[in-house]
């Protein structure tokens, strides 16, 4: 159980690090995916440890939600690319003069 938690926390922290350092919108979304997968690892791993199916079934919901979010996310990134020509997050600050 400790091993699962350690691996998942490491994965989550890697995701947070990516979230804070990535400049490209796709990179940020990949970092967020890594964080969500850390949550899935906890759900499935601890569910197995406890012998309760609720962890696994919960993971199915989070996977589905993550997919929905990525689909919408990529569509918005595409929209931004069409209107600006690049998708660097740190340069999308036209409103903060």
């Amino acid at each position: 159980m400790i091993a699962i938690l350690l691996i998942a926390s490491a994965l989550f922290c890697a995701g947070v690090f990516g979230l804070l350092t990535q400049k490209h919108a796709i990179g940020v979304m990949i970092a967020i995916e890594v964080m969500i997968n850390a949550a899935n690892l906890v759900l499935v791993g601890l569910g197995q440890h406890k012998g309760a199916a609720v962890g696994q079934s919960f993971a199915l919901f989070t996977i589905a939600i993550a997919v929905a979010e990525v689909v919408v996310g990529l569509a918005i990134v595409l929209l931004l690319y069409r209107s600006r020509g690049d998708v660097q997050v740190d340069e999308a600050r036209e409103m903060r003069q």
Binding site: V28, M35, E69, L80, E94, M95
Partner: protein, 474 residues
């Protein structure tokens, strides 16, 4: 399970079915007939609102996974009201700006609303996260709706909302996963043991951070000003109120119902967040020149006051939070609709564009003044009672220092709210002639005005309703 068992979910189901229905109707209608979609949506929303008084909505679904009560009905009415006002106010704009995409717009709005309406009753974590995301994902698309015009950047607004929203979802998921994994159950009642361990505390803080992002609590508020400024104004009128109502309901579900034994962990953090939120929201609002950006920071500050009700103990505090949300709904939707009316008249979205409004359109200026006074908390409009009650709740719970801080920053807030009023009433304008306001938009503004003034004159019925509603939280 029979269909009758789903009775308590009826409001959410009506809204979700209406969303699907709109998609179909959109396909059948001729392009010239599409503006009727907006009226259809408005009719469905007001019909559902009326149905909330007629249908029996109390009771459990699936052995307590979903709990219908006065609490869920009260919140559903607030959300339905906010959505109806935002749809009514945006009718002409949507028909003119996106003539071929009206069906999509209203469908997305209704799907998001379905998630919100179902959220407060969830007593099980998987249903909770699904409703939370059903609320959130359509909002990303709505914020990105439309083209660059009038200094607006919808794509940028949508992307900021999306990235922050998705990151907060990931953080919330990790907290939720820890709780579910440790408990071996996802029911709220079984989620946290009577004597929680340190990991439970970590999970509670992750949940707090994730949900603080969603309702725009400082220091997690970075997305709020850009999204409010960039997104289409009728969307912002909806986005700035309904998801906040749902977000606070979710806050109450998670922290008062599911994890009350962890209060010693999350309460100090929440106290800190309230202080930071009030300071940042109010101070950063002062130099703003764009009206929507100013309203965004004002919204951040208002969230601080609402959370004050949350700190103020369970029953009275949560009830006063409901009252605050109702007062905030009318004033905030009203403010954005007035801003929308002025932008629609071909002016712009900066505060200088309000110059001379009192001489040009006295009624619009009066409505603007009432909304500003309500947001600032001046006596005899709704906002005063709202602030008064949350301060009372915080005082009773022994948070005297917060009352002092809140009162201090209410004075600071007066400064920037009256700055907007001064533009409308004192400054002179080069333009003359009344600002043209379309009928539906005018009607929506009048309803907001009546709500703001009415709640200021007779707050008691709503206070009693809120106190009764809180009984249903458990």
């Amino acid at each position: 399970m029979s269909l009758a068992d789903l009775q308590p979910l009826m409001l959410g189901l009506i809204v979700a079915c209406a969303a699907l229905l709109l998609l179909l109707v959109d396909l059948l209608l001729k392009p010239s007939a599409r503006p009727t979609l907006g009226w259809l949506t408005f009719a469905i929303l007001t019909g559902t609102l009326a149905a909330s008084w007629l249908l029996p909505l109390d009771g459990e679904v699936q052995a307590g996974v979903w709990q219908g009560s006065l609490w869920t009905t009260f919140l559903a009415r607030l959300m339905l009201g906010a959505a109806a006002l935002a749809v009514l106010g945006g009718l002409d704009y949507v028909a003119r700006a996106w003539p071929y995409r009206q069906g999509e717009y209203y469908t997305l709005l209704l799907f998001s609303l379905a998630g919100m309406v179902l959220l407060p009753g969830c007593r099980e974590l998987a249903a909770f996260v699904v409703c939370f995301e059903l609320m959130g994902i359509p909002l990303y698309v709505l914020a990105a709706f439309g083209k660059n015009e009038n200094g607006r950047k919808p794509a940028e607004a949508g992307m900021k909302l999306l990235l922050i929203g998705a990151a907060s979802t990931a953080i919330t998921f990790f907290g939720a996963a820890l709780l579910v994994g440790l408990a071996g159950s996802s029911r709220f009642v079984e989620l946290v043991p009577y004597e929680p361990g340190p990991l439970h505390g970590v999970a509670a803080l992750l949940l707090l951070a994730g949900m603080a992002f969603k309702i725009g609590v400082a220091p997690f508020h970075m997305w709020v000003p850009d999204t409010y400024e960039g997104a289409p104004t009728p969307v912002v009128a909806f986005l700035s109120v309904a998801p906040k109502v749902a977000g606070f309901a979710a806050f109450a579900s998670v922290f008062l119902v599911a994890t009350p034994t962890l209060a010693s962990t999350w309460r100090p953090m929440l106290w800190l967040l309230v202080v930071i939120t009030m300071v940042i929201g109010n101070l950063v609002a002062i130099p703003q020149k764009n009206l929507k950006r100013l309203m965004a920071f004002s919204g951040v500050a208002q969230v601080g006051y609402i959370l004050l009700g949350f700190l103020g103990g369970v029953e009275f505090g949560a009830a006063m939070m409901l009252f605050y949300l109702a007062a905030y709904l009318f004033a905030n939707v009203g403010m954005f609709l007035v801003a929308h009316a002025i932008a629609e008249a071909g002016e712009g979205e900066d505060i200088v564009h309000l110059n001379g409004l009192a001489r040009r359109s006295p009624w619009l200026a009066l409505a603007l003044l009432m909304f500003l006074l309500s947001l600032a908390g001046i006596p005899f409009v709704a906002g005063f009672w709202a602030k008064f009650y949350v301060f009372t709740a915080a005082w009773r719970a022994g948070h005297g220092e917060m009352v002092l801080l809140g009162a201090l920053f209410a004075t600071v807030a007066l400064f920037y709210y009256l700055g907007v009023a001064r533009a409308a009433f004192v400054n002179k304008s080069e333009r003359s002639g009344p600002v043209p306001v379309k009928r539906p938009l005018a009607l929506a503004i009048v309803v907001c005005l009546l709500g703001t003034v009415g709640l200021g004159a007779w707050p008691n019925p709503l206070v009693e309703a809120a106190l009764a509603a809180v009984q249903g939280l458990y």
